[in-house]
Symmetry: C2
Subunit: 399 residues, 2 copies
């Protein structure tokens, strides 16, 4: 069968990303990979999950194994309301939908809001999965630069002034950003809300890492400053419980959430009832906060080891962010090095990263890279950074 001519217009441009191919390569066991964005396997509460599952099967199997409502298990929705208060968000259960991972939150939001050629402001660099979900609806991406304090709001304002009409939405990962590791300051969050009001656009706030803070003071969610229902807030249990369980939640204005539920119903009828019950029981037993404390301990150590190793092994002319949380840091090498071309040599030396340019919609960032510090073991982090430092030195010497 010839398929190409049958595809819908939106599907013709869908291609396997280079990153996907890269990530396959890095699964070879002797490669030290800083490429993926995976939680540490040490961080999973396996025995508790087995126990909780048995309890759910003995007490609530009829509901856990049956179709559920599209909006999600009501007790878990209530729990998400409670949890979001810590981010400064004041929501009710009618503002909450449980989704099959934040990716679904981004997909359904895009499905509801984006016409072809609608303009969407994204961070430069931005989260690849978010870009991928939105791309299927064929928007135009307008990148706005970031610095150590997150999205540069002055640049955003300049961009908005120049636009013929306001963007449909802005997509942002404001806390411990993927890939840059930086956090938007509260002052900037307030200014972002003001701009959204003045220019009348929607903010999609994606907050997968907010609870993984290893240093510095907490900041409230952008949603916490939203008194118009303008912010669609996404958070997830992937990084604080298990990504394999595919459980996340969306908070939004009630009419928006009503529409969201209808659109989600079309995509998967309902989120997995079984894992919703397991997660709720895990939270009801008050296990999750202790678990997060444990993960934070593991990841803080890994971050510190990577930062120390970078100091020790990366040559002069390189710099990197020092994230207060999350899974990633962002490194720069001298301008003349193209980190995409350097990957082949890195793989030869059995170490991997993601080239920074992959995260820019305009192909910039050719001398940057994303390093994930959460996945590799402590020993491998040191060794991997040592190898990577060697690869960079070789590039510098060859220049």
């Amino acid at each position: 069968m010839k398929w190409e001519s049958r595809y819908a217009e939106r599907a013709r441009g869908m291609k396997a990303s280079e990153i996907r191919e890269l990530l396959k390569l890095t699964q070879q066991p002797d490669i030290i990979s800083f490429a993926g964005g995976l939680p540490s396997p040490d961080s999973f509460p396996t025995i508790d999950i087995a126990e909780v599952t048995t309890h759910v099967m003995l007490t609530a199997a009829e509901e856990a194994l049956q179709y559920g409502t599209t909006e999600g298990y009501h007790r878990l929705r209530e729990y998400c309301v409670y949890r979001s208060k810590r981010e400064g968000i004041d929501a009710s259960i009618d503002n909450v939908v449980i989704v099959s991972g934040s990716q679904q939150g981004i997909d359904v939001t895009s499905k509801i809001l984006l016409n072809k050629d609608d303009q969407v402001i994204v961070e430069a660099p931005s989260y690849l999965g978010g870009l991928g979900a939105m791309k299927a609806y064929q928007p135009q991406f307008i990148p706005v630069k970031m610095d150590g304090d997150g999205l540069i709001i002055d640049e955003l304002e300049e961009t908005l002034k120049k636009m013929e009409k306001p963007p449909k939405l802005i997509y942002t990962v404001p806390t411990f950003q993927n890939p840059a590791g930086v956090t938007l300051t509260e002052k900037r969050r307030k200014r972002l809300i003001d701009l959204a009001h003045d220019y009348d656009f929607v903010i999609m706030e994606d907050n997968p890492y907010g609870e993984l803070r290893y240093s510095g003071d907490p900041v409230r969610a952008i949603k916490a400053f939203d008194d118009e229902g303008r912010v669609i807030y996404l958070s997830t249990f992937s990084k604080i419980f298990s990504p394999g369980m595919r459980l996340a939640w969306v908070i939004g204005d009630e009419p928006y959430i009503q529409k969201f539920i209808i659109a989600k119903q079309g995509t998967d009828l309902c989120t997995n009832s079984f894992v919703q019950r397991i997660l709720y029981e895990y939270c009801r037993r008050d296990l999750i906060d202790g678990h997060i404390t444990k993960i934070i301990g593991i990841y803080r150590k890994k971050r510190d080891i990577m930062l120390e190793a970078l100091e020790e092994y990366f040559p002069e002319g390189c710099s990197w962010t020092k994230p207060d949380g999350g899974l990633f840091l962002w490194a720069r090498v001298p301008e003349y090095i193209n980190t995409k071309n350097m990957i082949a040599e890195a793989i030869k030396q059995r170490v991997a990263y993601v080239q920074g340019a992959a995260f820019f919609v305009d192909g910039s960032g050719t001398n940057t890279m994303r390093l994930c510090f959460s996945y590799a073991s402590n020993e491998k982090i040191r060794e991997g950074i040592k190898r990577l430092g060697r690869v960079i030195k070789k590039e510098i010497e060859a220049h």
Copy 2:
């Protein structure tokens, strides 16, 4: 916030279905509901699931709780290849993707194939969830009638002849159809394949009930007669294991499946790894066939009880299908009765069904109804049909 003006064109028409509202009503505990399409809660293998989960947590937790590949757990994909052979399908692992329920299979297929105003042939009546998933991509639906042997292929051929260009695809539930309960004969399946070849369209074959046969001889899948890769085949573990687990699979031509994987990645990154491992271990232990035998026993009995009760309690002028499998039968009342208007009285009598017109894209079928026999207990089936017979008699007398 005013949302209506912000929605994408595709989302403006998305409305909560009447059925959704009806199903909420029918959750009142004293209502005997034949409305939903739910498996019987007696049919869930709860203890086995608890045991299998503990095993997975002790032996494969790192993988089960981590992100997985978008195409799904490779052993489960292999198992789906093996299982599909029983339907006469000759596939390899590269033809298979695991999805988060068949609904996702329909959504992603629509996303890949449907431009706005593309023509899609659907059965009249057709599965509501399928229509809902496709509708988001704004196709035009062309209904083709069914009889006791499924889709009337002569009518399909007439329709195709009259069309200006061939349809993009046909969506069909050929075995124990939802809602009509009828099965497309093998002879018609072959003719459908021939027409698809001659007119060059794609067949989306949705087969959630195929393994739930209570009488009659098995028929092979439409996909079994497909030597061009023209059929996109969907099947699911929802009716033979658990709908709450949201696990189904898609089989298609390899280039199509490659595109499918990319599109699915945009919608949810990957299917739940945890439940994929649990289901695989359940299948590996050879528990599923015994379980299906048990379900078939339960449902055959329920079907027979409903058929007997219909004979006994439904007044003259009514007729109904006698399905060889699945969850549904389809009843007709005298032409002058509008089953949508009759629902209020049925609810008063504490019994519920879905009005047949809901399953037609052209508003026909006003004197039909769908009755689900799998969910209510055996006693309640008799009592519910008795009540419903009374409601119909009252309508006839008032005529």
